[in-house]
Symmetry: C2
Subunit: 378 residues, 2 copies
DNA sequence: TTGTATGCGTTATCAA
DNA sequence: TTGATAACGCATACAA
């Protein structure tokens, strides 16, 4: 009997057996030394030497099969190109790495197949837990989550009875903050450039917008509502279509990508922002600060939601028997130059009016991101 | 003898044993049915039923230990916040998924520790291969790559003797394209806003800039060179510092994030772009098209490099014995409104002048991204 | 077709 | 301290 030829892995790489044989000890001793537990000075020396000589690298898969954990956590988002996910990812990563784990990100493209597929594959033990922020939530998603062998935390709206850990915000209230702000600034013909209505955020923004207008006694003019998708180009084109058929004095955009697109459309047509048209985005991403003029934007607390989701996930990994939890992060409005005529320069002005729908209004010009990340290119 | 109590996994989840016992067959039969090979109609029925009843989900780790592969490929980049990596990632993902694998992304923050750590952890079999695009390449990186049990492809410059698959561009030539273009447009006082000089791209841009000026007989004015990092805020601040002490009539920025920052600084000071100062970025990311005016930018073929890197990786996974390969992607210049006075509207004008240093100059206004990704928020 | 037995590479158990 | 051996959960060569 005896193993294969030279106690080497299938692809010829060294294993504990290789090291043990070379050091002249048992695999148990080799394993112990390699893990830093026990061993006489002489044994330790021999094993260390043997491992170095053959270039031994432990097989993480085998180790995980034994330990039932990989130390990996995954984040599944629709589109890494959207800065809101970058902010969320950074917050999550901070929490995850501080627990000694590593974060892996997967872009699903928003496709249901891809998302449930990912759940099927990664969740089958390749990662210890997963955070997902689906744009559309279907029964397929819920089924996949419930059957998943690993903990899953969802960022975004979920049916009330779903037994799934979940961190959400109130984007309807967020929309109300923006509308309140614009109305307080004297705007009456407020337009909306939204994403698809069959998405969770798209539907919420639409409903919130109509409700907010109603609360101010402003009738809804359907010509002032345009729908594209949540991308820059769609926002630019949708805004252009809207301007071709109506004359808004303010524009609320469903996210900052759309808002930057709308800004582009406005500037192309030589309209002044905010003098002719006030502009407000949503998500309060880096893009809002990068635009000129800087964009007012409704913060939906993406970083806070990410951080909280990560914390919930770690708690559940530690104790799988916890009951499902549901947490909320309140939206707030960050006012900058794109919606305030008096202050066209960076660093917006806080709105003094208390919004009707709860939530806070914050001054603009947050401190520069203090994370040590490095942007770079080839 | 006999297994634990109820042939169930350590954490109580069903295994093949659970299913087999419940179906009254051997684990071999259960495994076969579960994998869709063989089995009588009756056996198949019983196993399927049993699997469904207990909610069986295969353990991917155990399967991988057996098959020696996970079907996962990783991409390690410094900063997901930089759109250039988003473009690269999309190209890579297309190739990877079409091979039936899945792509996972990891943001390293550009820290050496994090990058070599990642190599140590993921590369130990959690993924079948890895693509990395480090901002700084140290001996630690090379050591870690060489010792890695899985294939690694590097996007970026590498020492010539490094036995590592590698896809690179010539950013010095790219810088020359930009300088040639600006000089041809009559600009003489060209500034550079660069990233850290101890990074591979930073050093290349600095050297390329000086060489390009020399080739036109323009003396280097150190006051026209500013260094920050590769981020938006740093670009904005560095540009402001530069304007405070010199009067450039053109500005070349080391990447698009810096360029957008510089644009912000220029507009804040009410300077006209491109009339007063022409602006050229690098990487030709989505940001270049989102800015107003749209930015001319040196394309370093990030999508092409990503695609090629993915192809190289898949080839090597299929045949680990291939010799190390080194591929090049030529830079090109995309001219848009920010550097051409005659055409301030979207859709730039191609430069007619053939650059001195090889490489192509392309017309601006590429078609909108046709990938089906969805940007979205909460 | 079905079951038995073994291996994947590692860690943990338990005598010695 | 050390070594033989049994898991971890799955797949498969081989024999029945």
């Amino acid at each position: 009997m005896g193993r294969k030829r030279l106690q080497t892995s299938a692809d010829g790489r060294p294993t504990v057996h290789t090291v043990a044989a070379r050091a002249g000890v048992s695999i148990a001793s080799a394993s112990r030394v390699l893990n830093g537990i026990g061993g006489s000075a002489e044994t330790v020396r021999k094993v260390r030497a043997a491992a170095a000589e053959v270039g031994y690298v432990p097989n993480a898969i085998a180790r995980s099969l034994q330990s039932q954990r990989t130390g990996l956590v995954a984040l599944a988002v629709a589109d890494i190109g959207n800065p809101v996910y970058v902010a969320m990812m950074r917050a999550i990563e901070a929490v995850v790495t501080s627990s000694g784990r590593q974060l892996l990100v997967h872009a699903t493209g928003g496709e249901i197949e891809s998302e449930t597929d990912l759940l099927r594959r990664l969740a089958n033990r390749y990662v210890d837990g997963m955070i997902m922020s689906p744009i559309r939530i279907t029964d397929r998603h819920l089924d996949a989550i419930v059957v998943s062998p690993i903990p899953v935390v969802v960022v975004g709206q979920l049916p009330d009875d779903a037994p799934v850990d979940n961190v959400r915000t109130d984007s309807r209230a967020g929309v109300a903050l923006a509308v309140d702000h614009l109305v307080a600034a004297g705007r009456q013909r407020i337009g909306l450039v939204n994403g698809p209505l069959d998405t969770v955020p798209g539907a919420a923004r639409d409903a919130g917008f109509r409700a907010a207008l109603a609360s101010h006694g402003i009738p809804v003019d359907e010509r002032l509502i345009e729908v594209g998708d949540f991308q820059y180009a769609a926002g630019r084109d949708a805004a252009a279509r809207l301007f071709a058929r109506a004359e808004p004095d303010a524009l609320l955009c469903a996210n900052d990508l759309i808002a930057v697109g709308a800004l582009h459309a406005l500037l192309t047509e030589r309209r002044r922002v905010p003098e002719d048209v006030a502009l407000v985005g949503m998500d309060d991403t880096e893009l809002a600060q990068m635009a000129f003029p800087q964009l007012s934007s409704v913060s939906l607390g993406s970083a806070a939601r990410g951080r909280r989701a990560a914390e919930l996930l770690l708690e559940r990994i530690a104790d799988p028997d916890l009951p499902p939890r549901r947490e909320h992060v309140a939206p707030s409005l960050v006012v900058r130059a794109s919606s305030t005529v008096g202050r066209p320069t960076p660093g917006g002005t806080p709105s003094s009016r208390r919004p009707s729908s709860g939530g806070a209004t914050r001054p603009g010009g947050r401190a520069a991101p203090a994370d040590g990340t490095v942007g770079v290119t080839s």
